[in-house]
Symmetry: none
DNA sequence: GTCGACATTGAATCTTACG
DNA sequence: ACGTAAGATTCAATGTCGA
């Protein structure tokens, strides 16, 4: 089963589509530009609106260097009310422009996605899925104040509860090694040669990875479909649309982004099946299991006594998966190296637990957990 | 000097907490029951609210089979408005009951979480993270019409932008094998012996796994904290709170759930104090040690030469605990940032001293000093 | 040319105590 | 209240430079 679909035969009749500014960037305000487009004319919209981050002061890494944060004017809104109005205005235009069987994707973070999702529902769209982009390599939380912000959320919605929409179920299942594609997708953040740079610095602060757009378009559009991106930025949507045989329209206000996007899309080459599979290759790496998960899931109770193979040291399991031994405490690895006075230690094989009178490495428990939890 | 002295009223040492119905279930409407609780009295709220309204007025939980059972003739705006009102009503009560340094967790799916998140923000809560529960074994989408719904979303919020909150960073990092805990958590759905059944069928359609609550409480509460669950269901929150040495209050309207929860929590075994030990409790803040104290107490002689790990800079210890390097002088932190031309520097880990031919960070000297001076 | 050590960086609502 | 100083804090991937 191929992932890419064949291009449909072009109809001879002149359609609304012929009046669209296809495969071009409209350099204009997002809402003004959308107003210039005819109703019910595009098949899919992908939108990456400002997140309204509202950052405070500077943020330093532990080594003292400064994080290059999003401080652009386009991300600033005074109040939630102002952001909501902006959101509802552009979403209303999006709804007018979409065909009845079209669908819309919006990406965001916890700063804005709840407000976007509420507006999407209020305007009559019907949410089909929320999709989690799990970042393989997110920026850490340098100050240790919260959980690492390691994902972003996409909302996928049709025009209404009864509306039809495109979902290429077979393509998604094929892409995912014959397993149904789940609502959580893992991709690295955009970096390396893919990341557009000028004079050594990133052109756009929030360039999205092409792999994310590939999957979105493969899932919810057909070859020849018209895809609109009202927050075009450096044109990831356009580049991927071109490579996947879709038509595209971009809207972007800032000329420096428009210039970068034009150059990038010009250079984009159509994609063949093998390249696509490589790019989407499912992460075959075995799921990582932390010792704490065994405690959380009841495989090992807090208070259990562990020992090394030769019973030179004994340690007690804490509620948070820490071990304690003679006043020292730490993770299984940390405590293992502490008591042995070594640089490092594989706690999984070093520490043992007792079962039916025999002592086994806790690594066997990890295998048991994996067997029980993996499909 | 005032003529009349105030009579020193001796408070009865009766705290707000003593007036709370601790470790009990209030069988009542959620909002009515919350109104009976005093203001600023609980440390954490965990809420798993029902997600939608049926025309009859009953609330449905996110049980997939019931999603399409909602009456077709409903008016969406009215329904969303009713749900929003319900959400804002119970969230407002939650806000009144929470202490200023408390936090709230709400779990939901795409059907309701966007509306909940918007209400959370509008009421003045400050979102700290959105957390994704990735289901290891989700229910497949049998009809192949969408992506497999493989996650749920939790929102974690403090009382306001500047409000304090509990986050046991070290415990979370230990739990995750010495890596920062991310915003995506994987757990199996609730099944097996943990899943409450009666006559072979599940008691509650959306019973949450205890492992999920375990991590929530370990991350954002302390032993002895009071945790309120306004949608108690079969009492997962109570069972885990009891196990982890937290106090709990549950609110649940349906008597069959109340009965199941009481029986379940009765059977739950609490961990004793030693088992409850976590990295957080272990690292009770050591008193501050000024670098000068080490010099005063002879741990480091004036004139000693310090260097950074890679010996790019050398500095001499002054009698007052200052450092001097190439004409510049200052505290260990100040000089560290000066020579590196960085905005900040932790001098304790930056500067090293020589002992037996090896160079160690001066932080180890501080540890030695603490060990020697602490009882 | 290759390998290893080191430096750089990414949508981030990122401190606390004391005077 | 506010300003200043002490002190605690990072993961994965890519790029660069020297041996």
């Amino acid at each position: 089963m191929a992932v890419l679909e064949k291009v449909a035969v072009q109809p001879a009749a002149k359609t609304v589509q012929d009046t669209l500014p296809l495969d071009t960037i409209l350099m204009d305000d997002c809402i003004d530009a959308m107003r210039s487009l005819p109703a019910k004319s595009v098949d899919m919209i992908f939108a990456d609106p400002p997140y309204n981050l509202q950052l405070g002061g500077d943020l330093l890494r532990p080594d003292g260097s400064q994080v290059d944060a999003v401080d652009d004017d386009w991300d600033k809104f005074d109040t939630f009310a102002a952001y909501d109005k902006f959101t509802r205005d552009w979403l209303a235009e999006a709804r007018r422009i979409l065909k009845d069987n079209g669908s819309i994707w919006v990406i965001g973070s916890y700063h804005n996605i709840f407000r976007v999702g509420t507006a999407v529902q209020d305007l009559g769209f019907w949410i089909l899925n929320d999709i989690i982009w799990r970042k393989a390599n997110p920026m850490p939380n340098f100050r240790g104040t919260r959980f690492t912000n390691a994902h972003e959320t996409l909302i996928w919605a049709s025009m209404g509860e009864k509306a039809k929409y495109t979902f290429n179920y077979r393509s998604m299942k094929t892409l995912n090694d014959e397993l149904q594609m789940r609502s959580d997708w893992e991709f690295p953040i955009c970096g390396g040669p893919e990341r557009l740079k000028k004079d050594g610095t990133k052109v756009h602060p929030t360039q999205k990875p092409e792999a994310l757009l590939y999957r979105v378009m493969l899932a919810a559009s057909k070859p020849g479909d018209v895809i609109l991106d009202p927050f075009f930025g450096t044109g990831t949507t356009g580049a991927v649309a071109k490579r996947l045989g879709r038509r595209w329209i971009g809207i972007e206000r800032e000329s420096k982004y428009v210039a970068a996007a034009r150059e990038r899309i010009q250079a984009a080459l159509p994609l063949d099946e093998s390249q696509l599979r490589t790019m989407q290759a499912n992460t075959k790496k075995p799921p990582r299991v932390a010792f704490g998960q065994l405690v959380e899931n009841g495989y090992l109770a807090p208070g259990t006594v562990l020992a090394d193979a030769r019973h030179r040291w004994q340690a007690v399991v804490g509620a948070d998966g820490s071990l304690t031994c003679e006043g020292q405490a730490g993770s299984i690895h940390k405590l293992g190296s502490l008591v042995q006075e070594r640089e490092s230690c594989n706690g999984w094989t070093f520490w043992h637990y007792e079962v039916d009178g025999a002592w086994k490495p806790i690594d066997t428990l990890r295998q048991t957990y994996l067997l029980a939890t993996q499909p």
